[in-house]
């Protein structure tokens, strides 16, 4: 039933199959995994008529190339500056209908880090603990829990073409994500009280540089180390977005594949609504934190979900 759809020619850097989060197993130590930038991922899926959480390719790359084995419809979102089909540049932000033997090149010359490539019907992947999302560290989901490599052949499920050509509406807010610098809202963390006022002030009044040490597990920030003596606290719950201060003083923000517990003080948690912006930062970019009340963060999150929901609704109404 699984039809080979594409053959990867150049897999670029840190490319994985991602899908809905692996929820409900944190109690057993299993990370959530899933999309780092759920807005871009859901938009890519929308372009090809998929569900929001269909399995697609997530890649931290400046260049991705593949060959089409069987006709399929493609949506690319996130950090992509140019799409070429058989050496011809084609518009971004719309559905493309690919034919077998087409050669597709994706370039990223934007300020964003992650691109998403969706195919109608989604990619076939191993479902583990309720999710197809690849967790590389624990070898779960995706293609045998591994990152994608050149020569991999990806299969699709069921209907892999769409009739419609959809376009992301002009001025849709997702473009705002790809700036070099970002400001993200932070809910004060349980161990914020272990820091001095001066440390807290350092944390909220400076912008931190995104180091080259970034992965799906965590992003390390540099530039304004924050020191505390309380580094060896008992392991406590951590989520994607949790900001920990290890003994080096350089903050680590846990991302989608981050461990479910950590023994460093949790100074704050990045609001879910801003996690896609954070994920899209590149090394050398800067991030600034603003404290935010949980109620306010939830309200902004609800708004963000609304744009996506409305877009999905429009599609099904037609």
């Amino acid at each position: 039933m699984d039809l080979p759809l594409i053959k990867i020619i150049n897999s670029g850097n840190l490319s994985t199959i991602q899908g809905a989060c692996r929820l409900g197993f944190q109690d057993y130590g299993v990370p959530r995994a899933g999309f780092q930038d759920k807005i871009s991922a859901q938009l890519a899926n929308w372009l090809v008529g998929n569900d929001k959480f269909n399995s697609l390719i997530e890649s931290y790359t400046n260049y991705f190339e593949f060959e089409v084995i069987n006709d399929c419809s493609m949506g690319v979102q996130g950090a992509c500056s140019e799409i070429r089909i058989n050496d011809q540049s084609v518009p971004l932000d719309q559905t493309h209908h690919l034919r077998d033997n087409d050669c597709i090149q994706l370039f990223n010359n934007t300020n964003g880090a992650i691109l998403y490539l969706a195919i109608a019907g989604g990619f076939a992947a191993t479902q583990v603990l309720g999710s197809t999302a690849t967790d590389i560290a624990n070898k779960l989901g995706g293609l045998d829990g591994l990152p994608l490599t050149s020569k991999d052949i990806l299969k699709g499920s069921k209907s892999n073409t769409t009739k419609e050509t959809l376009r992301i509406p002009e001025g849709f807010p997702h473009r705002g994500y790809f700036s070099k610098n970002a400001t993200v809202h932070v809910i004060v963390g349980p161990e914020a009280c272990l820091f001095t006022e001066l440390d807290i002030d350092t944390f909220y009044s400076n912008s931190f540089e995104v180091s080259t040490d970034i992965s799906r597990v965590g992003y390390r920030l540099t530039g304004h180390p924050i020191y505390t003596d309380a580094h060896n606290i008992p392991s406590k719950t951590t989520f994607p977005g949790t900001i920990q201060i290890p003994s080096s003083g350089d903050p680590i923000i846990l991302m989608a594949d981050g461990p479910v517990t950590g023994g460093y003080p949790r100074i704050g948690v990045v609001a879910e609504v801003d996690q896609p912006i954070l994920a899209q930062l590149r090394p050398g970019g800067r991030v600034r934190f603003i404290p935010c009340l949980p109620e306010k963060a939830r309200l902004r999150e609800a708004n963000q979900c609304r744009w996506i929901d409305e877009l999905y609704h429009k599609n099904t109404d037609r």
Binding site: Y28, N138, L140, P234
Partner: protein
């Protein structure tokens, strides 16, 4: 339950802290809260002394209602966990006990004494964390408590039994890690494709049983 301490952990979770050093109290509280779907708690996470509650998609119904429920919870200490004692085979052979010399020096004991202390203790699974299926076992004799390595080892083999501070842990798979390794079990602790994804359960009592290198090599999981 009086004197509840809680804090937000992001906008969609709260953490109730310092509940009890007996994990069965956290398990009891979790099961109790599960009986109130109107609170819109989607998932729970137990760590040592704490219980984290994660909300459903659009947030909790009301945090104050949750706290009221937590306050009204009474743990019946007479209800003991009904899980059977789990026996974990362990081989202390030098090829597996990568840190036995350091332990000898730090604890000022010889390795035979360390093994006896480790075998005689009864442990409780206090939490899972760090990596899938990694159990934090409480009940380590204090004379074996040794701090973590300052910088972690890059590779710790699957099944390694290790010590850090007052906890004993088992690496279900190969991983980097900072705990001191005293032996290895041939048991599979985490199997995501099985119905029972972890061999051990939260709150379960655990004892180690020494096996020889020969038994280790010939071990077949049932």
């Amino acid at each position: 339950m009086a004197h509840i301490q809680w804090r937000y952990l992001g906008e969609n979770a709260i953490e109730i802290s310092d509940i009890s050093s007996n994990v069965n109290v956290q398990i009891g509280l979790k099961d109790y809260l599960k009986g109130f779907p109107e609170l819109r708690i989607a998932s729970f996470m137990i760590t040592d002394k704490n219980l984290t509650l994660v909300s459903e998609k659009h947030g909790f119904m009301s945090v104050s209602n949750i706290i009221d429920r937590v306050t009204s919870y009474r743990h019946d200490m007479n209800v003991t966990a009904s899980l059977p004692l789990s026996i974990i085979p362990i081989c202390y052979d030098e090829v597996f006990a990568l840190d036995y010399r350091i332990l000898e020096r730090f604890c000022k004991l010889d390795y035979e004494e360390i093994i006896t202390l480790h075998l005689n203790a009864e442990y409780t699974v206090a939490m899972f964390g760090f990596m899938p299926g990694f159990p934090y076992l409480k009940g380590l004799p204090l004379s074996l408590a040794i701090p973590r390595w300052k910088s972690p080892r890059k590779v710790i083999p699957k099944g390694s039994v290790a010590i850090a501070n007052e906890m004993c842990g088992i690496y279900p798979n190969q991983s980097p890690g900072g705990w001191h390794i005293i032996g290895r079990t041939p048991m599979t602790l985490f199997d995501p494709l099985k119905g029972n994804i972890t061999s051990l359960k939260l709150g379960q009592r655990v004892k180690f049983q020494q096996i020889s290198k020969r038994d280790f090599d010939g071990f077949t999981p049932n």
